[in-house]
């Protein structure tokens, strides 16, 4: 499968349909079984695969219908974690913050079954989706390891094993989310770099790291040293202000270009999205750009999500034709 120039993709999560939210509530109250819940998660996953195909996305995600939260999911599936309770993130958003209470490690593959299922539904490539070791450590309470470093490196080994298993299961694109990576840029960035080297060591899959929320200029250009092919970033959130940062030092990796705001209800128009891509093309060559939302879309409604994805696909098509017309780019240059 060949991806076109400016491939369109998504960051990971999509909203859960009403029936799945209801089922999750019932499952928590022990009114339905795990099997019943899983069946509905599979149904929702298939629906999102069909929606993405219909919209015309090039590189798909499974929509994370089986996850409550990007860290708690991994903590729940691994050894060494206990679930503490809910902690407020902002406004009335809370997240279950796990507690490291013993040595951490995989019991069995964490995401392979979901990847395999999602990929079986479509001929388009589906990304393998992982949360990175720095973020898992940072968004958990650590009651066991003497230092954050010890915990991060142990988790890096576990996530590496998952990368190996995903690749073995056929994943050609693997994303490792590290939204917490710039929490302590001065103190910890080298640790995050070291951890990512462990995670992606030896893989031949195309690797992506999604980074959001925070002071990206503070870790630029250092972030270009992360051992991945692509950095996926939220540009729309600050109206492409990050481009000024990228002008100071060439963006030497591929970029997953966030072009729609994942935290606003307003659905951007295709022309607005195309404008953002055009501005980016002044700074980063088309061959290095994947087009995506700023972040996971799970907090949007299904309609908003579909609207935003349609705008992305329409904008990418528009820019592709502009590039072809102006001869900036021949079809032959399309990515393989």
């Amino acid at each position: 499968m060949t991806l076109p120039i400016l491939p369109t993709t998504a960051v990971g999560s999509y909203p859960k349909p009403g029936y799945l939210l209801e089922a999750r509530r019932k499952y928590l109250r022990k009114q339905i079984s795990k099997e019943e819940l899983t069946a509905l998660e599979r149904r929702a996953t298939e629906e999102w695969i069909r929606i993405q195909e219909e919209i015309g996305l090039d590189l798909l995600v499974d929509g994370e219908q089986y996850r409550g939260d990007m860290v708690a999911y991994f903590a729940d599936e691994m050894n060494g974690f206990a679930i503490a309770g809910l902690v407020r993130s902002y406004g009335n958003r809370f997240y279950p913050k796990p507690v490291v209470v013993g040595p951490v490690g995989r019991k069995s593959p964490l995401t392979v079954e979901w990847f395999t299922y999602a990929q079986s539904l479509t001929s388009r490539p589906v990304k393998g989706m992982l949360t990175g070791p720095y973020t898992i450590a940072e968004w958990s309470f650590n009651e066991y390891y003497p230092t954050r470093r010890a915990l991060v490196l142990e988790l890096a080994g576990a996530i590496h094993d998952e990368v190996v298993d995903l690749e073995r299961a056929g994943a050609r694109y693997i994303q490792i989310d590290e939204p917490a990576i710039h929490t302590r840029p001065e103190e910890d960035f080298e640790l995050a770099v070291e951890a990512m080297e462990i995670v992606t060591a030896g893989t031949s899959a195309y690797t992506v790291s999604h980074i959001c929320y925070g002071d990206v200029p503070k870790i630029y250009p250092a972030m270009l040293r992360l051992a991945v092919n692509q950095l996926d970033l939220a540009l729309k959130n600050e109206e492409f202000g990050l481009l000024d940062t990228f002008r100071t030092h060439a963006f030497t990796k591929d970029i997953g270009l966030g072009v729609v705001d994942a935290h606003s209800h307003r659905v951007e128009t295709a022309e607005e999205v195309a404008g953002g891509i055009r501005r980016t093309l002044e700074v980063i060559p088309a061959q290095q750009i994947y087009v995506s939302p700023d972040c996971g879309l799970k907090t949007r409604t299904i309609d908003e999500t579909v609207g935003k994805l349609r705008a992305i696909v329409a904008a990418a098509r528009l820019i592709r034709s502009e590039l072809t017309e102006t001869g900036t780019l021949g079809i032959a240059e399309a990515r393989t």
């Binding site: 503490a84 809910l86 902690v87 407020r88 993130s89 809370f94 279950p96 600050e238």
Partner: protein, 328 residues
């Protein structure tokens, strides 16, 4: 030696219950209830936060800051001159706040936290302190689009917040706490900070606590002892270097000793805390000590926050007993 807290407290109980605050916040967002109904729920949850502190035996409590969305916008929304921007990470935490933007002249027009103080005072068996976010931190975590420079911006904030401290004092608050976590990261701006604190505290005779957490005061000690406040609140967890820093000069104020880790679920043992109190009394005599968590307890699930409060009291009482024996 008394026990106190830094300020905020979890708004909701542990799983599986969503909690009345969360349910009400969702209904408010959907337009199913109005602000007045939300305020009633905030009052109820404030009473829970007060009850947890009083039952644990905390000597000097806060209202739990249940009404605060975050420490910046609670004030910025009530002062004139601010618009509220998108989400920003709060220091090195996984907590986010909305960034205030000063678009026009910043001014105080009406009391912001006075009703909160009065409510807590009326419903608490223990003394209540009033807490505000200081001008330096408010400036550091907001964007200035109106004032010519940081100094004039911070002065405007200090003057506005000075009105609030006066109003709180007038309402009877005997202890006022000013939270300035940002100074731990911007020690090089100490002169601006000192200027702002001087302005902020002008005309204030109530007891004042200047609370600096998420780091140490290495860059500003012992200069910070010259500021016109009575108590320095320090974080001995994230700011563990304070142990060494305080040894550089005699500590001439009262100390609010932030020793229980407000950002980790591991509950310290009584022995650990007693040992730490013993160690700090070598620098600050027990009668000038307030023992507290390192920061607000809202970083923790509520059940753990409550256990931390209980442990804080248990350990401080044990230490008190030990110290008195020594003196006898």
């Amino acid at each position: 030696m008394i026990t106190t807290v830094v300020g905020n407290y979890p708004k909701i109980p542990d799983l599986p219950a969503p909690g009345k605050w969360r349910t009400a916040a969702e209904r408010l967002q959907k337009g199913q209830i109005d602000q007045a109904a939300m305020r009633e729920v905030e009052d109820e949850v404030t009473l829970e936060a007060i009850a947890d502190q009083v039952e644990a035996g905390i000597d000097l409590i806060t209202d739990g800051q249940i009404r605060w969305d975050d420490a910046q916008t609670y004030f910025a929304r009530q002062l004139t001159g601010f618009a509220i921007n998108g989400l920003q990470r709060y220091f090195d935490t996984n907590i986010y706040y909305r960034e205030p933007v000063a678009e026009r002249e910043v001014a105080w027009t009406a009391p912001m936290a006075v009703r909160d103080y009065e409510f807590a005072h009326a419903h608490s068996a223990r003394p209540v302190k009033a807490v505000i976010t200081g001008p330096f931190t408010l400036a550091a975590l907001s964007r200035n689009q109106h004032y010519a420079n940081r100094r004039t911006y911070m002065q405007a904030l200090a003057d506005a917040l000075n009105h609030e401290l006066r109003a709180l004092q007038h309402a009877g608050a005997q202890v006022l706490q000013i939270d300035e976590p940002a100074i731990c990261r911007h020690a090089q701006e100490y002169d601006l900070f000192a200027d702002a604190i001087q302005r902020l505290l002008s005309g204030i005779s109530a007891k004042t606590i200047l609370c600096m957490y998420f780091g140490d005061i290495g860059g500003i000690y012992p200069r910070v002892l010259d500021l016109p406040c009575d108590v320095l609140g320090l974080d001995f967890v994230a700011g563990y270097r304070n142990w060494e820093i305080l040894g550089r000069a005699p500590f001439s104020k009262d100390l609010m000793f932030g020793i229980l880790d407000a950002r980790n679920t591991r509950v310290e043992s009584v022995d650990e805390v007693v040992a730490a109190i013993g160690k700090v009394t070598a620098m600050v005599p027990a009668e000038r000590l307030m023992v507290s968590p390192s920061a607000g307890l809202e970083f923790l699930p509520r059940s753990v926050a409550k256990r931390k409060l209980q442990r804080l009291v248990e350990a401080t009482r044990t230490a008190d007993g030990t110290l008195q024996e020594v003196r006898v």
